[in-house]
Symmetry: C2
Amino acid sequence: MPKQVDYESRRRRIAEAVCLLVDEHGPEAVTMRDVATRAEVSLGAVQRCFRTKEEMLLFAVDHVGERITERARARLAGSPAQSAASALGHAATEVALLRREHRAEARVWLAFVARAAVSEPLAAKLRTSYAALQDLLSRLIAEAGGDAALTPDPQREARSLLALTDGLTSHVLIGHLTTEEAEETLHTHLARLWERLHTGPPGNAD
Amino acid sequence: MPKQVDYESRRRRIAEAVCLLVDEHGPEAVTMRDVATRAEVSLGAVQRCFRTKEEMLLFAVDHVGERITERARARLAGSPAQSAASALGHAATEVALLRREHRAEARVWLAFVARAAVSEPLAAKLRTSYAALQDLLSRLIAEAGGDAALTPDPQREARSLLALTDGLTSHVLIGHLTTEEAEETLHTHLARLWERLHTGPPGNAD
DNA sequence: CCAGAACCGATACGCTTGTATCGGAATAAG
DNA sequence: CTTATTCCGATACAAGCGTATCGGTTCTGG
């Protein structure tokens, strides 16, 4: 038998290249040849990993989806003892992809979201990621609201929070908001949510 | 001299065709030939209206930008006597493009936003539209909060509201939320804003 | 009526794209 | 060492793209 290769790791490497290119020029400018060059493999190698371009893009999209969700989860596990409030704040900030080093990921995500509006297979992948994120936020909110069920529907709060972060992210990307404005808006929203979770008038901050 | 044509109206007609196609298959699938067919003109006619494809897309984007902003404004002017609260609600709902008949416009808008993340000229056009919308919302909020300056910074509230509507719109488009869920989330957000406007800002948390 | 200008649709062209194909290099088994 | 198999990179190919060009048509001004 011939030389053996690890297809799985190669797929991931190619997915990374796809993300770099999407970040730079948008998904419509991604060609198989450019991907091959960027991943430092031959065009043939890319073709052997993915039967078609669509397949490659689909793989790439849940590659980044997993990465984002995973990072948000890791952010929580990394500091377990902290208050639920700051945990929620950190998770939301992570999801919003506001930090400059995640700007690229944000662009990739937005590009795929837009494309998903006209591509059902892509939309399905994204729904999975969104469901995971919303679930994560929802659990955090429920946890933060004390063990009592007095909290105002964590699911709804999570929906609102997730939509806000997505909106803020895209507004930063096109330059309508600065990173600071977006962070401040997100922070304000969280503070009010926190306030609402603690029905008492005295605001005890974290 | 030869036959005269109204270039301006033709440009608009072509822009409409562009929107139809973007709605159906996304902007990367828009070709000059398809646009010509859809607009029921010849390819040559399209070329004579717009020197290049980029120019055509840019024209299309602020065509829809104007249409959305205009509709929001019209919604206000159309019912002037109503309370500021419902005016704000109507305007926000209009901006969110949640109604089914505006689904197409929403898809077009999202597609252009994504593209703007990697195209500065496009981003500039969109910033103009967003600035107009945010200004509109901001004025409405200020108005709704009574004449006093006790309202909690209309600009910030408008930012938050606009980001939320954008996020909700895209979540509906990819099927993560239903129209009803999005409407309810928006309504809740507005209700809380309204509440805050009347009780006065308790603890400004930021 | 007749020039001449402005517009029309069709066609041509060069280029890039996704995908298919193919001879050869590399490696494990005999 | 030979042989068979698996992977490699290069090249081939048809289709579709944006754009340029060009003769014909239609209308205005004299």
